[in-house]
């Protein structure tokens, strides 16, 4: 039985213990960590994405698989010959001041993690200053703002304006979302819009595609 297939399958099944165990076996057998990632982990996640597209898998299963993959990456990292894990970068995420809804924001954060980002979740009711400090402290490449209340949209606008004015050490993309937020509104306030958690992950990957560490 091809062990790479087994890894892909255990990732697809979201089985962390088994996935890690298989990765260790492959390392013992002398396989390259990069190969394990490409042939095992990534293939498993791709299979999962296909099934999700066909509506045969659900979001909790994606999150379980992502957790299995992250556990494997931790095990493989020391064997990556000096290269760090293929993290996509850091994303700071929070719900804007005046709004305490956190379910959607939490899901988006989880999905970013599933997309191999380092995620810093700074909670709800977050002020302009808190967003800006968090971007600086974590050297973030993307800041993601959530708002569920129409009454918090003005605060979102203010925060985005303030962030866009600042020259950080590197460019910071601003992404926004939440029930009342539309593509048009995002454009108006000069931010990237994503419809839901999966769209947010895909757009984040696209935004940072050329800047992989």
């Amino acid at each position: 039985m091809n062990l790479f297939n087994e890894v892909a399958k255990s990732i697809l099944e979201g089985d962390s213990l088994k996935s890690v165990d298989l990765c260790l076996q492959l390392l013992d057998m002398g396989y390259d960590a990069n190969e394990i990632i490409d042939e095992g982990l990534t293939r498993g996640m791709n299979m999962l994405s296909d099934l999700f597209e066909k509506e045969e898998k659900f979001v909790p299963q994606i999150l379980m698989s992502a957790r299995a993959m992250n556990s494997c990456l931790e095990v493989l990292e020391p064997h990556l010959c000096g290269k760090s894990i293929p993290l996509n970068g850091t994303i700071v995420i929070g719900t804007v001041e005046g709004d305490i809804h956190n379910i959607g924001k939490g899901l988006v954060a989880l999905m970013f993690q599933a997309g191999c980002f380092n995620v810093v979740d700074i909670g709800t009711n977050v002020t302009k200053e808190e967003f800006i400090n968090a971007i600086r402290e974590n050297d973030a490449s993307i800041v993601a703002l959530s708002a569920m209340l129409t009454t918090a949209m003005n605060n979102m606008k203010d925060i985005v304006k303030a962030i866009n004015k600042i020259e950080f050490d590197k460019p910071v993309y601003v992404m926004v979302g939440g029930a009342p937020i539309t593509e048009r509104y995002a454009k108006e306030i000069d931010a990237v819009f994503a419809e839901d958690a999966i769209d947010a992950r895909d757009k984040a990957i696209k935004l940072l595609r050329n800047r992989r560490i």
Binding site: E55, F58, V59, P60, G98, I100, I103, G104, L107, L149, T150, T151, A152, M153, N154, N155, A179, P180, D196, A197
Partner: protein, 484 residues
């Protein structure tokens, strides 16, 4: 007494199991309450409080005492005095309320946008004329129309001027609560008058699981002090912040609402309360919040049965609504099925009239259609009585069917007007229907809207009181609106 058709989701044993687990949860795990004054007072009243962590636990004695002090009868008053609502409903019916909090408004032309203040006026004008809608909420006016920090206060000013029925208030910020109360008081001539005849009641929401943030604790506290009725709410999302099962979500929502009722009764024994469990679920494919998931409909019924039968406390939940974005077939199937199920439950209030898009949009056309469905549902709830008169026993035995027939018989003359006849439904044949423009129900609703909108206002606040309300609005604006 008329008979009632009734859906009981739980057996007696299951109901008792729910009750004992719910009480055990509040006694052993307790709640998190972000309000120091309230924690102190509740601690003095016997609750077990940790001021540092803001954790509060109840005892069985306190729970029993609180349940015993929930008033079994009370009235929610109407500004016009024409639509006062006695609980329990004297005829065993349920009450209907409009949807609260939706940011979007779908106009008669089908265009959807953030709610304008002119549309708030239109909403009350139409809703006043809906005979099957018993009380109102605040539409969520856009922050572009009125200051974002005071949307609730600005919208209430409209409601107090225009709404002839009781108003259920949803505050958006803790500091706004005081002004909302003051404003309602100004409309009736003072706080004492408001306490005597509360024309408003309040929403306070828990954050699942078992958390009460500052604003909502403040609502509970202030209402307890002002003697204003509260319809405490829980809005859990199954699978996101409460158990994925309908049963687990019903259990958590009911427990959170129950905890608020216990606190309110301890602080203000005899305060009118209505247990309001507004359940949602998360779609595990799209992650969107759903209102019309089938299991969640049954979960609502569990909550209704738990409070009404289990504690003799009046209960309220979504009684209409849809996850559809349009006034389409999905919409009608979902809402009719929900209205029907809830009407057959123990619920005292069916909420959400006029909404679509999972409580994010309201539409006057939808409201007009809901009014029609609620008419049918009220008739269903009343049920049918069996006796010789209703059987038509005498006329059957007399052979009235052969001579002269039932069409003009005494029995027919006595009863034929009792049948419920929806206002807008087609009841005729094809050629007449075509002659009248082959109208669908939606088109008939639009036609009715145009008629209703032309009618003169059924209510307006007297100018002196209206000026007093305006004064409070000015004060509120000064205190709440931060300069942008």
């Amino acid at each position: 007494m008329k008979s009632r058709i009734k859906y009981d989701v739980m057996t007696k044993d299951e109901l008792n199991h729910m009750k004992s687990r719910m009480e055990e949860l509040l006694i052993k795990r307790g709640i998190h309450l972000d309000h120091d004054e309230m924690l102190t007072e509740l601690s003095e009243l016997g609750c077990i409080v940790d001021m540092e962590t803001k954790q509060l636990k109840f005892t069985k004695e306190l729970i029993d005492k609180a349940v015993a002090s929930v008033p079994k009868e009370f009235t929610l008053y109407s500004p016009s005095g024409k639509r006062d609502l006695k609980f329990p409903h004297p005829e065993g019916k349920f009450y209907v309320r409009t949807n609260t909090g939706a940011p979007n408004y779908m106009t008669v032309d089908g265009e959807t946008h953030f709610t304008k203040i002119s549309e708030v006026n239109e909403w009350y004008h139409i809703a006043n004329q809906m005979e099957n809608v018993d009380y109102f909420t605040l539409p969520s006016t856009s922050g572009e129309e009125v200051p974002g920090d005071a949307v609730d206060v600005y919208t209430l000013e409209r409601a107090l001027n225009l709404a002839e029925k009781h108003i259920w208030l949803q505050p958006y910020e803790g500091e706004n609560v005081k002004y909302l109360i003051d404003m309602a008081a100004a409309s009736v001539g003072g706080l004492d008058k408001l306490r005597e005849r509360p024309i408003v009641s309040f929403i306070a929401c828990s954050v699942s699981c078992l958390n009460y943030k500052r604003m909502d604790a403040e609502i509970l506290y202030r209402c307890a002090k002002a003697g204003l009725p509260v319809q405490p709410c829980s809005l859990p999302t199954a699978g996101a912040n409460t158990p994925v099962t309908a049963q687990g979500t019903a259990f958590m929502a009911a427990s959170e609402v129950f905890a608020m009722i216990v606190m309110l009764q301890l602080l203000s024994p005899g305060l009118p309360v209505i247990a309001t469990t507004l359940l949602f679920s998360m779609d595990m494919m799209t992650t969107y919040t759903l209102q019309s998931n089938t299991e969640i409909t049954m979960a609502r019924l569990i909550c209704m049965q738990l409070f009404e039968q289990g504690y003799n406390i009046r209960a309220h939940s979504y009684g209409t609504g849809t996850d559809s974005l349009a006034i389409d077939e999905q919409n009608m199937i979902e809402r009719t099925s929900l209205i029907h199920s809830m009407a057959m439950s123990d619920a005292s209030v069916l909420g959400g009239a006029g909404q679509l898009e999972t409580a994010k949009t309201i539409s006057p056309i939808q409201l007009i259609i809901d009014n029609e469905i609620f008419g049918i549902a009220q008739r269903l709830r009343a049920g049918l009585e069996i006796n010789d008169d209703y059987l038509g026993w005498n006329e059957i035995m007399d052979g009235v069917d052969t001579n002269p027939g039932f069409i003009m018989s005494d029995h027919t003359m006595k009863h034929f007007e009792e049948s419920h006849r929806p206002d807008m439904f087609n009841r005729g044949g094809l050629s007449k229907w075509e002659e009248n423009g082959s109208k669908t129900l939606q088109e008939s609703a639009v036609e009715k809207y145009h008629k209703l909108i032309k009618n003169p206002a059924t209510y307006s606040l007297d100018p002196e009181k209206s000026a007093a309300v305006k004064e409070v609005l000015k004060k509120a604006h000064k205190a709440l609106v931060k300069e942008q």
